[in-house]
Amino acid sequence: MRVLPSGSSALLVELDDLDAVLGFTAALLDRALPGVADVVPAARTVLVVTDGDPAGVRADLERLPWRPGRRGSGERVELPVHYDGADLAAVAELLGTDPDGLVAAHAGREWTVAFCGFAPGFGYCTPDTDPWDVPRLTSPRTRVPAGAVGLAGGFTGVYPRESPGGWQLVGRTDVAVFDLARDPAALLRPGVRVRFVPC
């Protein structure tokens, strides 16, 4: 773990891999360290935004007990999915299976939201075992509907609103993963465990 400077108010914690990000983020969110205003995990880093005293928070970060990996506990979310995505057959073939096999594998594993990015409420979900490596579309779609369930790299995610997008689409959910009228607005927050249920 390396703690890198990020201006007047933030620190960037660089970690070895996504498992370390999951573990470090979980420890930070559990602990609620004084002076920490925001915790922004990403693929290899966790940005810690402070109230204005990064030096004070830095010492606490370096003493924070944590271990790599998912948390056993943590909130669980089930998302019903219609597995009728435009790329379902192509992705299945790429992974050496058929659509039924891909659906069984996608719905059969537990995913954890590692971090959010791309758009508010877009959670990058990582599987508990054997991540796939799915390439993004060479030419992104100009319009992906809200609720579309996609795969890219080792992640799966749900488009929170209509937007352009390059993830390969395997299905869709009717659940609003980001809803400004709900508290919390984002269902897929870092650390949340997700299961996709065929419907």
């Binding site: 890198l4 400077p5 990020s6 201006g7 007047s8 108010s9 933030a10 960037l12 660089e14 205003a37 925001d38 915790v39 922004v40 995990p41 990403a42 693929a43 290899r44 880093t45 966790v46 940005l47 935004v49 204005g52 971090f115 959010c116 990015g117 791309f118 758009a119 508010p120 409420g121 877009f122 400004l180 919390p184 607005a185 984002a186 927050r189 870092p190």
Partner: protein, 277 residues
């Protein structure tokens, strides 16, 4: 109540933004020049969290529908009788902001604050994510809330206008300074940078010498906040402002000190910026 007769090039509602939501991919947003917005609120006796109007390059015309205590701060527009000097706008009075001779953003505060519906705890328009109220349009009627503090009893705040000439700000270390060559890092902190026309609330695009990268690989996206100086492969840095993305995929080689980001938010296209460590 306040009626918008003309919004100018861009006027948005802004407050202190949405801190603490980066984890769900929501950026902070808020007034681009926080110090000027906070000053405006203090001068009308409101809490610094009250919402104000952020007017870009003048052009905002509003009519007071009730008697309102109002003030403008930031870029000084001709036509504002209340610049840094709070005064009463009687019902029916029209405030017509001209183009400021220097600076870019003018803040209009009315006592009680602009009381549009908050989104995720803030009334700020985030032009990147689209969260918050839409930019103002002619005909919009803005409710005014209840005062959130005591009047300060200040007639005039002696604040310097934003400079029309070069601006020098403090450069702090960024997490990926080592992605630049030593020569490029020196250039970042010594060359004159020119603000280009494709700048907005998200960030300032800076023109100057190309910054050569020592590491050419790709960086997985990582978190950043306003003040970040990101260096894309083109070598032309971007200084992120209020509506910065939550994460970025190019190395952040340095940061502008947070207080100084307010001053950068007053820079106009063509103006010169120098970064000094």
């Amino acid at each position: 109540m306040l009626t918008v007769l003309a919004p100018g090039p861009l006027t948005t509602v802004q407050d202190r933004g949405r801190p603490g939501l980066g984890g769900i991919g929501v950026g902070r947003s808020g007034a681009a020049d926080r110090a000027s917005a906070a000053l405006a609120n203090r001068l009308v006796g409101d809490d610094v969290s009250a919402a104000v109007l952020e007017c870009t390059l003048g052009g905002l015309v509003v009519r007071a529908e009730t008697d309102l205590l109002a003030v403008t701060t930031g870029a000084r527009c001709p036509g504002s009788p209340v610049h840094c000097a709070p005064g009463l706008l009687r019902a029916g009075t029209v405030l017509d902001l001209g183009t400021p001779p220097s600076g870019l953003r003018t803040y209009l505060a009315v006592r009680g604050g602009v009381d549009v519906a908050p989104v995720l705890g803030s009334r700020s328009t985030d032009v990147l994510s689209g969260l918050g109220p839409a930019p103002l349009r002619a005909g919009d009627v803005l409710p005014v809330g209840a005062p959130s503090g005591r009047l300060p009893g200040v007639d005039v705040a002696p604040v310097a206008d934003p400079p029309a000439g070069p601006l020098t700000v403090r450069l702090l270390p960024g997490p990926r300074a080592d992605w630049l060559t030593a020569a490029a890092l020196r250039l970042l902190g010594s060359a004159p940078w020119t603000v280009t026309a494709d700048s907005n609330r998200v960030g300032l695009r800076l023109a100057g010498p190309a910054l050569e990268r020592r590491v050419s690989g790709e960086l997985p996206s990582e978190g950043l906040v306003r003040g970040a100086l990101q260096v894309p492969p083109s070598g032309a840095p971007v200084l992120f402002l209020a509506d910065a993305p939550v994460t970025g995929g190019y190395p952040v080689a340095g940061y502008v000190a947070d207080d100084d980001v307010d001053r950068c938010a007053q820079l106009r296209p063509g103006q010169e910026l120098r970064l000094r460590s």
